[in-house]
């Protein structure tokens, strides 16, 4: 749930990039960091291994500006995608307001995508949250792969009911990076407005 700080007149949201290992979560954050103007972003923090795999999380604060007189900010996090870092993923999900699920379009990673989404569902349950209650978008990344999965196949596996917005992306080339973030940001703001 969003944090409203009345004394500082701030509304803060936590957005988490989730998905299987090497699907491009950190690449998304790096691209956002490069493309967002300096006055709208803070420092990017990465807790990674020596071979640049995410160990705990990446973090990037974004400043949207003032809405209703409140400074509105998004804190973006990635989780480590590798299967054995589940404890870390669980910790990062605490207090999440919205999720960008970064799916890998490589056919060999279809199963990993499905397992990661199932893992997201299970970890949210640990906080008594249902995945259907959390603003969620899917980014189908690496669409430039020659053997990329049909989008219909990815949707059939990850969102068979067609309820979740899906965005195609080649994050490494900054294609389709802002769109899912904008999508989930809109959803969390709508949810906040409905709550009031």
């Amino acid at each position: 749930m969003s944090t409203i700080n009345f004394s500082a007149r701030e509304i803060n949201f936590k957005i988490v990039y989730y998905g299987p290992g090497l699907s491009g979560k950190t690449t998304n954050l790096k691209q956002i960091y490069q493309q967002v103007p300096a006055e709208s972003k803070g420092e990017m923090v990465s807790l990674a291994t020596e071979d640049e795999r995410t160990l705990f999380f990446d973090f990037l604060p974004l400043d949207l500006g003032k809405v209703n007189g409140f400074k509105t900010r998004f804190h973006l996090y990635t989780v480590p995608g590798q299967v054995f870092y589940n404890s870390s993923r669980k910790l990062i999900l605490r207090g999440v307001d919205g999720v960008v699920f970064v799916a890998d379009s490589d056919p060999a990673r279809l199963r990993a995508n499905a397992e990661s989404l199932r893992n997201l569902r299970e970890n949210l349950q640990e906080y008594n949250m249902r995945i259907s209650d959390v603003p969620l978008v899917i980014q189908a990344n690496k669409r430039d792969l020659p053997e990329a999965l049909d989008l219909s196949m990815l949707k059939a596996v990850l969102d068979p009911q067609g309820k979740v917005p899906v965005y195609e992306a080649v994050a490494a080339n900054f294609e389709g990076v802002f769109e899912p973030l904008r999508g989930v940001a809109t959803m969390v703001l709508e949810k906040l407005a409905q709550r009031a």
Partner: protein, 166 residues
């Protein structure tokens, strides 16, 4: 998720602000921050003589994550958590106290402060803050979200990320 949070507003805010400043004066620490478990800064105070701090956003995120990780480690051994979280470098250290289930109080100090004094002053401040919160009479105002809210938010999102495509 219903994440517990502190209502630091009105006279409670002023009271807690005074406690943080007293903590800095007593301990000779550089900065004192109250942060929530999501890693957001709720309040902070800085000693007049202290150098420019690093980004408090990054600092708060790392402290909250570190706290969560330490708690998970303690749980592995059947503990609820660790009683003390102290970190000391060659020049700078941090000391952390829980403020109930809602937040953390963290003090940043350097070699000009004694660790024992920092610990006592921080524990004392944490107790005083808990009392101030328990006796809080002023609730924050209900936030109004009218049609303009979504419109303003969308305009800002357009400015930052480009026009929405649907």
């Amino acid at each position: 998720m219903l994440e517990p949070s502190l209502d630091l507003y009105g006279s409670t805010f002023d009271s807690v602000d005074g406690i943080l400043r007293e903590l800095l004066a007593r301990s000779r620490a550089r900065y004192a921050l109250i942060i929530d478990h999501k890693g957001f800064v709720l309040m902070h105070a800085r000693a007049l003589w202290a150098p420019k701090p690093p980004s408090f956003d990054s600092f708060a995120t790392l402290v909250a994550s570190n706290y969560a990780a330490n708690r998970a480690i303690a749980n592995l051994f059947g503990e609820d958590g660790f009683r003390e979280t102290v970190q000391q470098g060659a020049e700078v250290g941090t000391y952390l106290e829980e403020l109930g289930a809602e937040a953390l109080l963290v003090t940043v100090f350097d070699t000009t402060a004694q660790l024992g004094r920092v610990k006592i002053a921080t524990k004392h401040a944490a107790d005083a803050i808990r009392v101030a919160l328990e006796s809080a009479e002023e609730a924050p105002p209900a936030m109004e979200f009218d049609a303009d809210f979504q419109q303003d938010a969308n305009a800002l999102l357009d400015g930052l990320f480009g026009t929405r495509q649907r």
